[in-house]
């Protein structure tokens, strides 16, 4: 390898600012969303803060902002900054900065429109935007622009990878860029139905250009994209667990082929699973629900592989640091590094989140948990911990790397991660428990006349867990703000952790583990099998007649 190739890529300031802007906007919105989550937890325990702190008019406006900001804005903006950053770092050249800033502007304009709609209580329809609940047109247009931004990222990263391959014939795409492209490609395919729904139906409907909607057709379009969306959040976290975290703990990537295979499997398997959100929808055939049930179990498999490979990679690190015995290596991991601690604890709760997700996906078992608090109990472990805390963990090295300053306080970061872990364990337990006892989700339970005695204790779990999470979030933001402006300049730039594979597969690595076309083709084929007859029926029965309503 030539010297030039080994040399670390020096990122120009304007490029670093682009990534930093994406990430900071994402986290600023998370901060607002988190505080509203705190108010919801208190409401469930009977403490109504909406009159005391009038930043929103009622529970459901707050809940809409909580959902939209935390899972749509925070995730998407962080992911934009992070994926573009890792692509540039691993291919050792700048992204197309002009296109990068255009992407930023498109997404930010979309975000401002969305912010306007939700803060003025003109879009309290929750993040799922189920029609015929109707929102202001700025809500639909704003979110559609954010999705367009993700397509522009696919364009940027896809072109860079193709260019790199031309310049490096016969070599495998570096892992980080490989994972970034797999993520963006999956989402690029998966987001098409959502774009059709928002731009083709909901936007003209909210402008009174079309009189009504077809409820079931819209739901089906939403969930065609809505479930792959969770893998769009998750894959960047996997990217860090597989290809970066092993280096941070002094280990190596245990199995490069299986890591690549897992990413590629997500391209086809993430897509044809939407009906598992519609198990109790009248009007969708049981047979199709059953097919999606089986396919949802199939998409569990790449995560099963991830569990093994990532743990084994961590073990190589723990043992290299002198860990002995069956579990002794765990204690040798660098638990004083907030980035590591945050991600390790995120994994622990993700194991539980994966299992509770399997319950949700379990066909007729869904009758018990559908639309109960069991579901948010599940996804606060997945997106709310596995994803969110991994992103926080990444930021603990990435922000110092981008600013050239030191992290303000590593100790505070470690405490923050543990508090999030403890708070989430308690809160999620409370939600799942109340859900098993029949408490509905998305409901201002504290004001519900039917509130049952046996929900009292679980609701207190939810509230107390929520308080701990809020404290954790507060510590995180203090640490971040101080790192941005107060922390001293670092003597040496923080390095980007890039894990080496444990075994160099060399020529033995099959070529199909570095190809995308065949996997994208498989995705299209699977979607066709899983959806075509259902969609044909929905379209032949299509009746866009139900008028909108804004009862909020």
């Amino acid at each position: 390898m030539s010297l030039a190739a080994i040399k670390q890529y020096e990122m120009p300031r304007s490029e670093r600012n682009l990534y930093l802007s994406f990430i900071l906007i994402g986290f600023a919105h998370l901060m607002v969303g988190l505080f509203l989550g705190f108010m919801q937890g208190m409401q469930h325990a009977g403490i109504d803060l909406y009159r005391v702190i009038p930043i929103v008019r009622h529970y459901y406006q707050g809940l809409t902002i909580h959902g939209v900001f935390n899972v749509l804005v925070f995730t998407t903006f962080f992911i934009a900054g992070f994926l573009l950053f890792v692509t540039s770092t691993s291919l050792k050249k700048p992204i197309n900065l002009r296109l990068g800033w255009i992407t930023f502007c498109v997404m930010t304009i979309g975000l401002l429109l969305t912010d306007y709609a939700v803060f003025t209580n003109q879009a309290s329809v929750l993040y799922t935007a189920y029609s015929p609940l109707e929102a202001h047109w700025t809500f639909y247009l704003g979110l559609a622009l954010v999705v367009v931004g993700t397509w522009l990222q696919l364009l940027i990263v896809g072109r860079m990878v193709l260019q790199w391959r031309k310049e490096n014939p016969g070599q495998r795409t570096p892992l980080l860029a490989f994972g970034a492209l797999a993520t963006l490609l999956m989402w690029g395919l998966a987001s098409i139905p959502l774009a059709v729904l928002f731009v083709g139906i909901l936007l003209p409907w909210s402008l009174d250009l079309i009189p009504g909607v077809d409820v079931l057709f819209n739901r089906t379009l939403f969930w065609m994209s809505g479930h792959p969306l969770v893998y769009f959040w998750l894959l960047p976290a996997y990217l860090s667990w597989y290809f970066m975290l092993p280096k941070q703990v002094g280990g190596k990537l245990f199995s490069e082929p299986l890591a690549r295979l897992a990413f590629l499997l997500f391209i086809p398997l993430s897509l044809p699973v939407g009906f598992h959100h519609q198990y109790v929808d009248p009007g969708v055939a049981e047979g199709y629900k059953y097919i999606h049930f089986i396919l949802t179990f199939a998409v569990f498999m790449p995560s099963v592989m991830t569990a093994f490979t990532v743990l084994a990679s961590l073990e190589t690190g723990g043992r290299a640091r002198g860990g002995k015995g069956l579990l002794g290596w765990v204690t040798k991991l660098p638990w004083n590094d907030p980035s590591v601690t945050a991600q390790l604890l995120a994994m622990v709760l993700f194991a539980l989140g994966g299992i509770s997700g399997l319950i949700n996906a379990s066909y007729n078992m869904n009758l018990v948990v559908h639309n109960t608090l069991f579901v948010p109990g599940h996804f606060h472990l997945t997106v709310g911990t596995a994803v969110a805390m991994t992103f926080m963990g990444i930021v603990y090295w990435l922000v110092p790397h981008l600013t050239g300053r030191r992290l303000f306080s590593a100790k505070m970061g470690v405490v923050q991660a543990w508090l999030w872990f403890i708070g989430m364990t308690i809160m999620s337990r409370g939600m799942s428990w109340a859900g098993m006892l029949g408490a509905p989700r998305r409901t201002a339970l504290g004001s519900a006349p039917y509130f049952m005695d046996e929900w009292v204790l679980p609701s207190w779990f939810t509230a107390i867990g929520g308080v701990i999470l809020t404290i954790s979030g507060f510590l995180f933001f203090i640490n971040m703000l101080a790192s941005l402006w107060l922390a001293p300049k670092a003597e040496k730039q923080v390095e980007v952790p890039v894990a080496e594979p444990l075994i160099d597969e060399g020529e033995k690595m099959p070529a199909w583990l570095d190809r995308y076309t065949v996997w994208a083709g498989a995705a299209v084929l699977l979607v066709a099998i899983a959806y075509t007859p259902a969609l044909v029926k929905l379209i032949s029965d299509l009746s866009m007649t139900v008028p909108g309503l804004k009862p909020y």
Binding site: P282, I294, L367
Partner: protein, 157 residues
């Protein structure tokens, strides 16, 4: 391509476990009758609906001893009827429709859970063996008063 022996076994084990789960749930659906709402129910007209049994209203009627039919109407933010009295051991078929937007219904401590869409009729059947009060709630967000939307089935001795 090298795959570690332990990893291979782990993948097989997890895959096998999923197959067992699928089999168990399939048995529950096919042989124990724990079914999801399906396509057949969406537009079934209620037998002889009309007059006092207007399809657009909420009502209860006895078809035979311990055999009831309920036409339920959901709208922002109430169910009609909101109280249903039946003797223990009754099998009730619910036909549920919405007048306005999407709602949902969950009857506590039963397997009754379905979405309610304008333009569709959801059909669910359940046998209430144990006497007591079964609260039902709207379980899909339907606006600022969503948490007021509820009712109860009273199963008498």
């Amino acid at each position: 391509m090298h795959i570690d022996r332990y990893e291979r076994n782990w993948i097989r084990f997890a895959g096998g476990l999923l197959v067992v789960f699928v089999a168990a749930l399939t048995v529950a659906a096919v042989f124990l009758g724990v079914r999801l709402p399906g396509i057949a129910e969406q537009t079934i007209p209620i037998a002889q609906a009309g007059g006092e049994y207007d399809i657009n209203k909420g009502w209860i009627r006895e078809l035979a001893p311990r055999r009831y039919e309920v036409n339920m109407r959901a709208r922002v933010w109430s169910f009609e009827p909101r109280e249903i009295r039946i003797p223990a051991g009754s099998t009730v078929t619910f036909y549920i429709h919405s007048d306005d937007i999407t709602h949902g219904i969950k009857i506590q401590n039963t397997t009754v859970s379905t979405m309610i869409f304008p333009g569709h009729v959801a059909k669910v059947t359940y046998t209430f063996d144990k006497p007591g009060e079964y609260v039902f709630v709207c379980h899909e967000y339907c606006g600022a008063g969503h948490h007021f939307m509820s009712g109860r089935v009273i199963v008498e001795e």
